[in-house]
Symmetry: none
Amino acid sequence: MDPQTAITGRELILAASAIGAGLAMIAGIGPGIGQGYAAGKAAEAVGRQPEAQGDVIRTMILGQAVAETTGIYGLVIAIILLFVQPLLG
Amino acid sequence: MDPQTAITGRELILAASAIGAGLAMIAGIGPGIGQGYAAGKAAEAVGRQPEAQGDVIRTMILGQAVAETTGIYGLVIAIILLFVQPLLG
Amino acid sequence: MDPQTAITGRELILAASAIGAGLAMIAGIGPGIGQGYAAGKAAEAVGRQPEAQGDVIRTMILGQAVAETTGIYGLVIAIILLFVQPLLG
Amino acid sequence: MDPQTAITGRELILAASAIGAGLAMIAGIGPGIGQGYAAGKAAEAVGRQPEAQGDVIRTMILGQAVAETTGIYGLVIAIILLFVQPLLG
Amino acid sequence: MDPQTAITGRELILAASAIGAGLAMIAGIGPGIGQGYAAGKAAEAVGRQPEAQGDVIRTMILGQAVAETTGIYGLVIAIILLFVQPLLG
């Protein structure tokens, strides 16, 4: 077998990293649902008390920021897999 | 084996990148559900207080923008896999 | 092995692109649920306040448009995989 | 190996297209849930205000039409994979 | 290798079509949930206003018919894969 064309273990790891990076992004489902729920409840609250708009939005944004974290974790792992490639010794 | 026709490691990485890009898009389920919830609550609020329409819609759009982020993360990872191809040394 | 019949790397990438395109469409689950929720809440609001129908429908459509985006991202990635084929150098 | 019986790359692409087409249809989960929710809320609204039936049903159908789109995107990608076969050069 | 026992590309395509047909049917989760929700809300509405039964049922059936569509899309793709076999040239 010609070493030029054979699949090496290094290349198999990189191929699996591409799939792993894609899988990691699926975590984004959670923040997307949760933050949208927060946005919906905030819109409902502003409709009831328009004068409290500033407080409602500040609370929504703060809560959404916390909900964002797991989506960012997924993004960080994907970027590590794609660019840092720690599995290649 | 003819080197012209054998599967190389480089090609395996690119094949895995196609699957990884598709997987990353699945993140879009989240923003779709969440933003729709926000839209529903906003429509409900406008039905109750049509005069607060501007405030309600502004709050909805702001919250939906935050909920969009993880969908964009998935899109960015897919585009990196398809066009930047960082796993090819 | 006859080079005419062997599977080449190019063909493996195209096969993976077909699977990647299918996976990307799964994102459509989200907008479908979210937009339907918005439609339900809008129908409910119109039943209660038929005179606010215009405002309710405008809010629903605006919010649904935002919820559509991640479904369109998935469609775009699928079309890129099927027709642009960026992974073929 | 007899070239008549070996698996060619062309056949691998077609096999993957069958799986990709099936995956794309999974998107239909979303519109099914969302449109059913809209139908339920509309039935509830009509039960409360039978005289608003026309307005409620019009709002429901309009919102459901938007929710249908991502299901149709999935169907279109499946039909392209099965009949247009763009991955076969 | 005996050509009688080798896996041909044609057989690989048919095998993948079986998997694709099965995947396509997963779409049925959506209409099942959504239509059941509609039926539940309609039953609730009829319980509250038995005199509005005709209007409630008409609205429910209309909305459920729309929710059925993506389930039918999945069925059609499965039947095409199983009987039309467009991927076999």
